[in-house]
Amino acid sequence: MRALVRTAAAAATALALLLTGCGAGDDGEADGKITLRFQSLAWQKESVDINKRLVKEWNAAHPDIRVEYVQGSWDSVHDQLLTSFEGGEAPDIIHDASDDLADFAYGGYLADLRPLLPKGLTDGIPRNSWETATFDGGVYGVPFLQEPRVLIANTKILKASGVRIPTPGQPWSWPEFRQVTKELSGEGRYGVAWPLKEPVSVTLNLGLSAGGELFHRGADGKVTVAMGEGDQVVPDTIHDQVNTDHSAARTALGMGGGDTLPGFFGGKYAMVPLGFSYRQQIVEQAPKGFDWTVLPAPAGRDGLAQGVSPQTLSVAEDSPHKKEAVEFIDFLLKPANMVRLAKGDWMLPTGTEALADPSLHTADRGWATGVALAASLRSAPAQSVRGYPEWKDKVATPALQEYYSGAIDAAELKKRLVTDGNRVLARYQR
């Protein structure tokens, strides 16, 4: 879809510019006051309320730089932004996810923020997080919210089984996790349900813990796919749980995260690996008295490392008020505000000071477990790889789905991911 949009956009823009005579826009501010448009993708009520409240606070304190809140939507955000960029009507401040930024950054639509970012903001966010929004040496977004994948477990089943309860300090290893899911399985119950409707990002992101890299950048800057031992740990564990141990529900493989919740609440699955923010749905939908807990994902050779694509705030290259836009971002991401935004979205803030906020270090609803994982979060392996979307859709998704369901073996999976995959990536790197 994105490729089609890009191709169509290029052809269509040329035609449209001819038709419209390249009309110049009018960005001037008649009364000397500046208006910035901030497109937010916040969607949960708490989160929308907090964003709007922060905009209101900014506007009250900055009468000459007014920010206008524009409600965006995660659905079709990429195509919507692309059209807005092409039409010269993009919002000044853009909320998106870091894995969606590469095309816009390389396309010259987003401003390189390096000369604009205040030192406090730069220093307040760890290097790992900045890397998620860095493309070709430029910084094209400020990463501010992120979520690790965690195991949400049914406390009653967990305690009754007598298995060791993992902590961020002493997580389960992948082999131990496999053993535990066997022990948690029983009559009409599976130890785990892997919702793998979109198997690629889960596999790659969790694969970092076992030293998986999959994408290797050569000295010439070109990326190739290679599958080493570390890359096989996560796929093999899931495959064996489903097909050998029968400790993972086969039916869950085609589900999205939320689809597994009824089975989880009904005691059909003892654990579900989900994004940290799914806790909100659990709080809202869990039956009365249902006791659940948040556990760290299993660790491997590289500990609890896992890939994430944080939510980001960027500035449009066409914005005539980049400096002011970054000032607003700086205000929005002051540590106290970042904590408010994180709580509204049930996610983790990226900022070091915000992460240290005592209100996030509570055991209630698993906040402390999530915060303890923050230091291990890395840039998702694929997000700067050109050609990744096609590799994901055409090669990796069907290959992993077939492998997890037992239709193909490990050798065939490797052949497809690597041989077929490199053919796809090569086309993007000529």
């Binding site: 038709l19 005579g21 969607w43 409600q71 939507s73 995660w74 092409e86 995260g257 009824p262 869990a286």
Partner: protein
């Protein structure tokens, strides 16, 4: 074929029709059921068709969280205007194309068919730029313009069929009786075309009412957004959703189309049949 065999075939046809109707109704019935379920029932391992503890909380929450009424009003303005303008433009054009067959009208008909093959992603950026130069970005009129342009080819195509279904002899008879061209059109042809015009307007209305992407791209401020765009605000990243309020809002969003269908169903059926047969 014996009477018994005929009856069996007829019964089989009815069963097949019933199955098809159930299949068609399933998503809508499930939507209604979901809209009235409390949160714990939404997460139940054994979902039921009838909510065990029906609630209006999802509706309250949906109205509380999003400006649904304003969005519905915007959708209504855009869809009604698009339907009305599309038939106002398409009807005389269709008449000319159906009654005066020239190379130009044949080429125009061909172009109408071809234009339906364009993917909208190819059109959206030129449209965006044109509307920007006309200062119609972020206006409902800009959106209406797009919807009219979008609906026009198909509306024209539909109406040409309806016009051809009106016997030319009727117009000739009116002329013999002394009616002028305009009088013939207004008193003879237009009433016969009414079902077709209603069906075409309804088509344009529903296309505009359900349209999402143009509205998402062209309307910037929350005050202008239409219902399909506002519905997506109940959706989060990676498929997460606020299911109860989303179902409640989506159920409400289907009502205007259903009401409209219910009111003018007979006319549409007549219109479709009229267009289906050419003398």
């Amino acid at each position: 074929m014996s009477m018994r065999t005929r009856r069996s075939v007829r019964a089989g046809q009815y069963v097949a029709l019933l199955c098809y109707l159930i299949f068609l109704a399933f998503p809508f019935l499930w939507l209604i059921s979901t809209a009235f379920k409390p949160a714990p029932e939404l997460g139940s391992l054994h979902p039921t068709w009838i909510p065990q503890h029906p609630t209006l909380d999802n509706f309250r929450q949906a109205f509380d969280e999003q400006p649904l009424l304003r969005a519905a009003a915007n959708s209504l303005i855009a869809a009604l205007s698009a339907g009305l303008i599309a038939v106002l433009i398409a009807t005389p054009m269709a008449y000319v194309m159906a009654r005066h067959r020239t190379r130009l009208s044949t080429a125009a008909t061909g172009w109408v068919v071809v234009s339906q093959a364009f993917p909208f992603v190819l059109l959206i950026i030129p449209l965006f730029l044109v509307l920007k130069n006309l200062h119609l970005i972020n206006t409902l009129w800009g959106l209406v313009l797009v919807y009219v342009v979008w609906a026009l080819p198909f509306a024209l195509w539909m109406l040409v069929g309806y016009v051809r279904a009106v016997p030319r002899e009727l117009e000739e008879a009116a002329a013999v009786d002394g009616a002028g061209r305009l009088r013939t059109l207004v008193s003879v042809t237009a009433p016969l075309l009414a079902p077709g015009i209603v069906a075409t307007a309804l088509f344009a209305f529903i296309t505009a009412w359900n349209e999402f992407f143009f509205a998402l791209v062209l309307l910037k401020t929350p005050e202008k957004q239409t219902l399909p765009v506002v519905l997506t605000h109940f959706l989060g990243a990676e498929g997460a959703s606020d299911l109860g309020p989303l179902a409640a809002a989506a159920f409400l969003a289907t009502l205007p189309s259903l009401v409209l269908f219910a009111v003018i169903q007979r006319r549409i059926t007549g219109g479709m049949l009229a267009g289906a047969v050419k003398n």
